[in-house]
């Protein structure tokens, strides 16, 4: 087995046993990046060689390269959110999640391509380029954390950080045969994450398996003084006691969800997963949840509303691209008009509208009320079952160049958005493949701060599904 094919725990074990050195790990992945990155197009900035890499003699990730989504503040690489407006911009500080990775000894391998400002589900909205799905280069890796998913699937790094506002970690994980974890809102500090929708954004890992996700969460989770919304809760060791029998868990299948407009292969894989849970002694019942499109509807009010405000700071005054020097109005107009792509502008307009006098009551405020109702309903369901099980995404990976209208694209977030609306932790893991050989994901959603049990259940499901998801492009 090549070093680049190993997952996090295999790398750590081999290094601890002295079979490989931290330097060899770093070099192996840098070489791998050199070999496949031209095809994958996952990085917007990256380590070119190991000459400047300083391997600290600390931490369990010592020498292990980790990729970071381009919307998290790093000192070593620009943080451009894959937007022309921020091209080349280096933040004067480092975000908490990145700092924690470095403190654990990780080598930051580079910044990964994304839909501009995390708005999109394909990386086609990147201001720089479109990333490819290593399982089939004619397909997309999903998004917005598509670059992170692509580089892990191609073995360029064993794990990456993504951010998830409406499914942006889980959907690309599903598209590329990986595990994607969106922790509970407040589990991982958002300090350093360039905000898309502050009340929904959460940082999480993309890994090759569930145990690696648990290992990453051990490093990332925790209260941060710099983020008032980070929760002051005890985070247990998520790897400890992760091996549990599926029979100890009760799963809920939302009534009517599998009758929605879902690709038949996705439906089949999720139904098979449910069957396997039952066969292995797990309990599965039907539960009643609010109509799936309800959460989606309010998501597309709340997220753009917050985004319209969060993105106001990109005005050309202090950093990033500045265009137009006739007067201040002209500077704002040109900087933003030419700096932002069309999807970002669409969402800023939607959000501005939703917050405007005369519409705010009907749109934004009503959405907040519905959000509370949905939260209550999920809470009630978690009294009955441990987890909700759904497809991660209605389809396998999109094909590159396919025409999709924005509304159709928004509908693909239907299963992922509720976890952001409710703040719940959710995980996507491989459930098999479509007839075309593209990966399909299944999602488990848990109650707030139930990551310990969620990872146990996901690990046991991973064990019984036993999907082969090797590094691609070998």
């Amino acid at each position: 087995m090549e070093i680049y094919e190993m997952n996090l725990r295999q790398l750590i074990e081999a290094r601890e046993k002295g079979e490989i050195t931290p330097e060899e790990i770093t070099d192996a992945f840098i070489n791998r990046i050199g070999a496949v990155e031209d095809d994958v197009k996952g990085f917007v900035s990256k380590l070119e060689d190991s000459s400047g890499v300083e391997i600290k003699d600390i931490g369990e990730l010592k020498g292990i390269p980790i990729a970071v989504k381009d919307n998290m503040a790093t000192l070593d690489f620009p943080t451009s959110c894959s937007s022309k407006l921020l091209e080349g911009y280096v933040t004067p500080y480092e975000g908490t999640a990145v700092k924690k990775l470095k403190e654990a000894g990780a080598v930051i391998a580079g910044k990964t391509n994304m839909d501009e400002f995390a708005m999109g589900s394909s990386t086609e909205n990147s201001g720089f380029m479109t990333s490819r799905n290593p399982w089939n280069l004619d397909h997309l890796p999903g998004g917005s954390s598509g670059g992170s998913a692509a580089v892990v699937a191609a073995g360029e790094v064993p794990a990456a950080l993504g951010s998830d506002t409406g499914g942006s970690i889980r959907q690309p994980a599903a598209f590329t045969g990986l595990v994607g974890l969106k922790p509970t809102y407040g589990s991982v500090s958002r300090y350093g994450l360039v905000a898309f929708a502050s009340s929904l954004d959460q940082i999480g890992p993309l890994t090759r398996n569930v145990k690696d996700a648990a290992l990453m969460l051990n490093i990332l989770a925790g209260r941060d003084q710099m983020d008032s919304t980070s929760a002051d809760v005890e985070h247990p060791d998520y790897l400890e006691e992760i091996e549990q029998d599926i029979s100890g868990f009760k799963f809920g299948v939302p009534e009517g969800y599998l009758e929605l407009d879902i690709h038949p292969d996705v439906k089949a894989r999720v139904e098979e997963a449910i069957e396997k849970i039952k066969e292995n002694g797990g309990e599965v019942v039907e539960v009643e949840l609010p109509p799936a499109d309800q959460a989606l509807a309010i998501y597309y009010i709340i997220a753009p509303a917050e985004a319209s405000s969060n993105l106001a700071r990109f005005d050309g005054v202090r950093y990033g691209q500045r265009l137009g020097d006739a007067d201040i109005e002209e500077m704002y107009r040109q900087t933003r008009n030419e700096g932002f792509g069309s999807e970002v502008k669409r969402r800023i307009m939607l959000g501005t509208y939703a917050l405007s006098a005369g519409y705010q009551d009907e749109l934004y405020k009503k959405a907040l009320k519905v959000r509370t109702l949905i939260r209550d309903q999920y809470k009630a369901v978690f009294e009955e079952v441990d987890f909700i099980i759904t497809p991660t995404c209605p389809t396998p990976a999109f094909k590159k160049g396919e025409e999709r209208d924005p509304l159709e694209t928004y509908l693909t977030d239907i299963f992922t958005v509720p976890a952001n609306i409710t703040g719940s932790p959710a995980i996507s893991l491989p459930a098999g493949f479509s007839e075309d050989g593209l990966p399909v994901g299944v999602q488990l959603i848990g109650s707030a701060f139930s990551e310990k049990r969620l990872l146990q259940a996901a690990n046991s499901l991973e064990n019984i599904l036993d999907i082969d998801n090797p590094v691609q492009l070998k």
């Binding site: 990109f314 202090r318 917050l355 006098a357």
Partner: protein, 482 residues
Amino acid sequence: MSTNYEVIIGLEVHLQLNTKSKLFCGCSTKFGEEPNANTCPVCLGMPGTLPVINERAVEYALMACRATDCKINQYNKFDRKNYYYPDLPKGYQISQFDLPIGFDGAVTIETEDGYKDIGLTRIHLEEDAGKLIHAGSVADSDHSLVDFNRGGVPLIEIVSEPDLRTPAEAKAYLDALKQIMLYLGISDCNMEEGSLRCDANVSIRPEGQEEFGVKVEVKNMNSFKAVENALSYEVERQKKMLENGDVISQETRSWDDTSNKTVLMRGKEEADDYRYFPEPDLMPLEISDQWIKETDDNLPELPLAKKERFIEDYELPEYDAEVLTDDFKLANLFEETVGNYSNPKEVSNWLMGEFLKLLNEEGISPDESNITGNNLASLLKLIDDGTISSKIAKDVFEEMFNTGKEPEAIVEEKGLTQISDEDKLVEIINNILDENQDVVEEIQSGNERPVGFLVGQVMKETRGKANPQLANKLIREEVAKR
């Protein structure tokens, strides 16, 4: 026939809280630093940064609220006020919209007709913006610079009800408000440094009319006197317009200190839409009953109460009480002195006279001099027991003021002890009488006036140390003996 008009004034005061650090980051709030020295990624609105509330600022705002009898919104949250301006780094200001920390309060002012309560609509907490420095005037400068030192400094906005009826009342309200905030120690209240800013809304209506007249907003007043002048000008301007049959338009006007006029800044525009919504980066703030109670328990005695108590407890004239309580540091010095010396009126005289005179000359505040309650009391006792004369005491006081030395030490060092030894004085007096035989004869012939001259000679001879009353008595006795 001329109509009588009623004047309606409401004030909006922005007050910088003098916390050590900013509202949402750890940067210093120190005034007068190099431009952009007091900044960090958070207050510069760098992408990915987040605000963290400075609890001390909330505490200060809570003090301001309770000292002005405001009710408290115990479920407290912050909101984003969205607008674009180069001095606003995030493109929104973190402020409070529908749930201000305090509401429904009052400030008591003194008018010619006695005390009057001015209602407070609300007090809310927010962050200050940066400051633009234009190359030349705003209109023709080819570039502007931004200084974010001020950006993120905590502010409270205090909005009064339209309860003020004259420009003088408006000034009295500002004086009272400033005095309260200085007593609380939560703001420097310095209009020149911008730690206190005031905008006014003013309208007039014919006496007896129910509905308000058209409101004009006046800005850019940089002293309390300017507020009073601007409002007086504006009231007259509006009266003239109505008398000429003109219609007053809702507009914003700017006070020009050089021409002593308000000038049009902008007309009524469409209402600004700030698209307020709850700040998602901050958790709601619960202000507990306990916190409010602790605030109440720890509030200092406020100016009016102190003044009333000084009149009552120390039997001071109202004027004295007013002067002494104007600055709580002066009031504190008074009480410290009275604690060691039992004649309050005498203490008041010294503080209002010599002490304030020296403070003014030095341009310093009461706590910056070397005078303490202890050393002032000692000085007054030295006068009472005849050790020094009142006249010498003034010199001693000045020395104390400048050096902080104890009065006894100064008297000792300079040999200022008053001569009350009769034998010694008699000897000196007789020498003087010998040299002024003609004056002695004049007195003997019944003209008492030259006695004063002889006292003066004695004082000169003793370099001011003789007890003047005693010298006077002894001169008469010695002259009579001759």
